[in-house]
Amino acid sequence: MSLLFFFLFSSALFNYGMGLQGFLLKEYNLKTYLVCFLQVLIELFLSLAVSWFFIRHILLPIQLTELFPLIVFLVFYFFHTLISFLVETIDLEASNEIFLPVLILIMSFLHSMNFSKALIISLACHLSYFLAIPILYAIRLRIDQAHPLPAFKTGALVLISLAVIMISLYAFDLSVFFQGGF
């Protein structure tokens, strides 16, 4: 259930948050996309395992768990630099390709009680983000080809398209219609 929730929830959270910068401002090709996907996947897995160890065996005994985002960032940055150095991958920008995985890691730590759940959450978030990129990129290209009115060129149509996708994803949840429950 958590896989499904975070698969949908992360598409809601990350795609329009951090992801928008990527698919609105960047030009993607298949090679960049796949390399980026694999690199972040490996970095996420390694960082999660090492961070989990540090938090569980160092921060938790001394009751400093509030500092876990710093540990997560340091560990992720170490693996990011190492992989970028060993395998000559694309030069990833700090603002998007570092922050997004770091936020995924922070989110998975905040919402999980054990390592396996943290792993599932982070992988679901990562997968949902990378699966949504081609769809949203295609929408963006289609909107550009349609030559919309100048007022609609600001990204408003992309936001509306994204809203429609999100509302469709949440369509199974009818609780919002039963307002007596709130």
Binding site: L13, Y16, E66, I98, A151, A156
Partner: protein, 195 residues
């Protein structure tokens, strides 16, 4: 990157995922301004120290550290607010990094840099306040303020069929609201430029 893009990205990364209540928005925007001010000062220090390739990681590290400090301050003020905002603090962290890193320091003009970061942050905060107010009004027909016990909710008369619907508090409808604002602002700017 243009200032307009920073504004747009910061809008979607802070304003949409946050809850539909103005009270929470006020806390997040205070956080954004304070983190921006301190991290831009630290950025100047890093520039002066000439840390080279460590500049970006140091900047991100200090921004995350400042976010943790701010989160603890909010927890000291109101544990309920801190608990409810939870992950949103780290989204502020990302946006703060955008503001401070995308505006470049030109020829050691530190005062101009600080002024432009502050100007952008304040302009964004005013827009954020407007967006949070509008979203809360259309969703709950109320406005809220942060207090130590949580939120003080002030009820406002609702316009039938337009507001008071919980659908507007959802993230999907917040995106629609943002798109409507973008269209209106853009159309207004085009009209102003023409005539």
């Amino acid at each position: 990157m243009k200032g307009k893009n920073i504004f747009f990205i910061a809008s979607v990364s802070i304003l949409i995922p946050a809850t539909g209540r103005l009270g929470y928005g006020i806390i997040l925007l205070i956080g954004l301004i304070s983190i921006n001010c301190i991290s831009s000062l630290l950025y100047i220090v890093f520039k002066k120290c000439d840390v080279g390739s460590f500049e970006t990681p140091l900047q991100i590290f200090t921004t995350i550290a400042l976010t943790i400090i701010f989160k603890e301050c909010v927890r000291y003020y109101s544990p309920i607010l801190s608990f409810n905002l939870h992950f949103s603090f780290y989204l502020v962290c990302f946006s703060s990094f955008l503001f401070t890193s995308q505006i470049k320091i030109e020829q050691e003009a530190y005062a101009i840099y600080l002024f432009s970061v502050l100007k952008q942050s304040l302009a964004f905060s005013f827009f954020g306040l407007f967006f949070f107010s509008l979203r809360e009004y259309v969703a709950y027909a109320s406005l809220s303020l942060p207090i130590t016990q949580g939120l003080k909710i002030i009820l406002i008369p609702a316009v039938h069929l337009f507001n008071g619907s919980f659908l507007w508090s959802s993230t999907g409808f917040a995106l629609v609201l943002m798109a409507i604002i973008l269209i209106v602002v853009s159309a207004f700017q085009k009209k102003k430029a023409k005539g």
